[in-house]
Assembly symmetry: C2
Amino acid sequence: MTMKANLLTHAEALARSRGIDAFSYADLAAATGIRKASVHYHFATKADLTLALIEDYAARVADRLNQIEAQSAAASGALRDFLQLYHDALGTGDSLCLCVAFSAATDSLPEASVTRVEAFRNDVTAWLNAQFDRARQDGSVRALSDPAQEAAALFALVEGAQLVARAARNPDRFTDAVAHFSDRLLMGAIQ
Amino acid sequence: MTMKANLLTHAEALARSRGIDAFSYADLAAATGIRKASVHYHFATKADLTLALIEDYAARVADRLNQIEAQSAAASGALRDFLQLYHDALGTGDSLCLCVAFSAATDSLPEASVTRVEAFRNDVTAWLNAQFDRARQDGSVRALSDPAQEAAALFALVEGAQLVARAARNPDRFTDAVAHFSDRLLMGAIQ
DNA sequence: GGATATCTACCTACTAGTTGGTAGATATGA
DNA sequence: TCATATCTACCAACTAGTAGGTAGATATCC
């Protein structure tokens, strides 16, 4: 792995476990074994670093969502995988998805990153919307209402569930919070 | 108002709009017109300040929830007031409820405050649980499942909806995210 | 009543450490 | 030789927190 990729990996882990405000170039230098000035060589400012973080993250999540959509036989299956994805992002309960971490610290983020996070949120919500549209066709979600409404609600639910689970340092809290929604996903023969 | 109360008011506003990490004793001194050392006179350390903040906040919210419960003729009315309370906490979209702000910054909080926030979260969830129990009696919530499950889901939903609305600087996003739940609250003759 | 002592609420001036960021030298490999 | 990647050594600005002092209100004792 290149040092740049290595720095991004460590920065992402730090941002997700501590928050963007709560890690420094010194932390990053210590984690990778190079000097602080060398970190600045790869990411001139912290604004550059946060933007690289969110872009890298958004690309990976987009790939994963496309993959989930392609693999799923019904909307319910895709939504179940989506819940699993956000559950797994918690690790042992000490890590948030980067979007939650960034949303919580909007004020200390440069404008470009704020805009990029907003675009990411919109993309994920649009993906959820598409799944609920599918569900309207395949009938794999019980008691379905308006897809856009469902998408907004589910996105807020998983973000909030992550926050609660991480604060309690217990990933089971995520499962508890989404249980009611999970129950609406039908386990039809096709999935 | 005493200077101590004044400091708490400003500190709460700063914590809710910027986050706990993102305001300093210098900011607080500037906001209240006294010197930094005088802020330390009232709150010796930032740990003391955060604990005072959450205790003050928890007491006020508990009072408000008791009031809501007492005033409501049906569970659906209490839950509607609860949604309104969290909606209003957003202001014009630049402020979170203190619980969300503190949950997002668990790592930079002293242990005592983390514990206090956790207790607050449990209290609010218990209150929601009680409302869903009531709903089981008065039938004012449509498609009701297990009260504990509903409480965990609704709490995560409002926290996530706050995060999304604040990141987008638009309180309407909160309303969108909770719309699906709102629709389940019956507008019976008793409320 | 008047002296003494204590308390509240603030002050100026400081410390030790951290932050993001820079200048310029040096090593490494194509 | 030249670009890439690293280094040492710094900087100004900020952080929470401390030391030591003061004006004025309030209590206590003779």
